[in-house]
């Protein structure tokens, strides 16, 4: 099953990955990271298709993607 890894300490919660993920996999976490943002987390791992769109639109080099 495709999957993404998230370097949550780098996330600035811009929302681009959540907006552009075609499968609604991602969403904001309830917790804070050290920068004070609610980092993106995987909400629906089973829906991920490994398309890499999240990694491409992220300005903060947060994602790696596996298939």
């Amino acid at each position: 099953m495709p999957k993404v890894t998230i370097r949550e300490e780098r996330c600035k919660a811009c929302g681009l990955c959540i907006h552009y993920c075609p499968k609604g996999v991602l969403g904001p976490s309830e917790k804070f990271n050290a920068k004070g943002y609610h980092p993106t987390e995987v909400k629906h791992p089973e829906k991920c298709i490994g398309c890499t769109i999240c990694a491409q639109v992220c300005p903060d080099q947060v994602f790696e993607v596996y298939r």
Binding site: M1, K3, T5, R7, E9, R10, K12, A13, C14, G15, L16, H19, Y20, K35, Y37, G50, T52, I53, A55, Q56, V57, C58, P59, D60, Q61, F63, E64, V65, Y66, R67
Partner: protein, 253 residues
């Protein structure tokens, strides 16, 4: 499932250092940073790459690229790039400039480097504003656009008109390749990477001067949410700055 048995289809570029950068949330500079890192990896040029950091929000590029870098005085990246490339043609030179840097204080340098068709690649970040200093008008600010120095909107009678850099350079014979792209959507990001790859490849082939202009969201100084800012790039900014190829001598017969 553990990732060990899986194929990695997107890796953090090795040509970028493993440290966070200071760009604001959603900033287009951050997306272009990934593109440059990916391409330096893909083209295998990291050992001979030299990045030139401008003055502006990207001034700390030398902290982000994991290859050699020089930080140029405001607007003078094309002059530094010219010197590096002429002194050592084996270097792979990536010159990076904002719109205040390239189209205001550095106007002379970019025009003459393009006119001489110096063999390096320029990435030109057009965010229609001076980002680093807090949102003053840039030469590229749109008519009617509010900024710290045009609080009622840019007025052509007192502030002049937006400078279209690709169109301006396209009046010269020197440039080999000029294209304007944006990084507002995943599809635009694919096109932007293709354009920057072309510019890099032309340099490796010794073809001469290339410039890729990237319309780049600055949510902070536009006073917009990130999602509104990417929409504004496509719906408003691209009306004044049309996307597309202006010059590609590699495609001419």
């Amino acid at each position: 499932m553990s990732t060990e048995t899986m194929k990695k289809v997107y890796s953090i570029p090795e040509s970028l250092r493993n440290r966070p950068h200071h760009y604001c949330p959603g900033c287009g500079h951050g997306i272009v940073l990934s593109i440059v890192g990916e391409l330096v990896d893909e083209l295998g040029v990291r050992d001979r790459a030299v990045g030139i950091a401008p003055v502006g929000c990207s001034v700390f590029l030398y902290e982000y690229y994991d290859f050699d870098c020089v930080q140029a005085a405001h607007g003078r990246a094309p002059a530094v790039a010219t010197g590096l490339k002429r002194a050592n043609p084996d270097l792979f030179v990536i010159s990076y400039q904002g719109d205040g840097d390239l189209a205001a204080i550095g106007t002379a340098e970019i025009i003459h480097a393009a006119n001489r068709s110096e063999n390096f690649s320029t990435i030109f970040i057009n965010n229609a504003i001076y980002g680093m200093t807090g949102g003053q008008m840039a030469p590229t600010t749109l008519l009617g656009q509010k900024s710290q120095t045009t609080p009622y909107g840019r007025n052509p009678n007192t502030d002049g008109f937006p400078v279209r850099v690709c169109e301006l350079l396209n009046s010269l014979e020197g440039p080999y390749y000029l294209e304007r792209v944006c990084v507002a959507t995943p599809q635009d990001r694919v096109k932007a990477k293709k354009a920057i790859k072309k510019a890099f490849t032309y340099q490796l082939e010794g073809k001469g001067f290339s410039l890729v202009e990237v319309l780049s969201q600055c949510p902070t100084n536009w006073g917009m949410s990130v999602l509104d800012s990417v929409k504004w790039v496509k719906e408003v900014m691209a009306q004044t700055f049309p996307l597309g190829v202006f010059r590609d001598k590699g495609q001419q017969k």
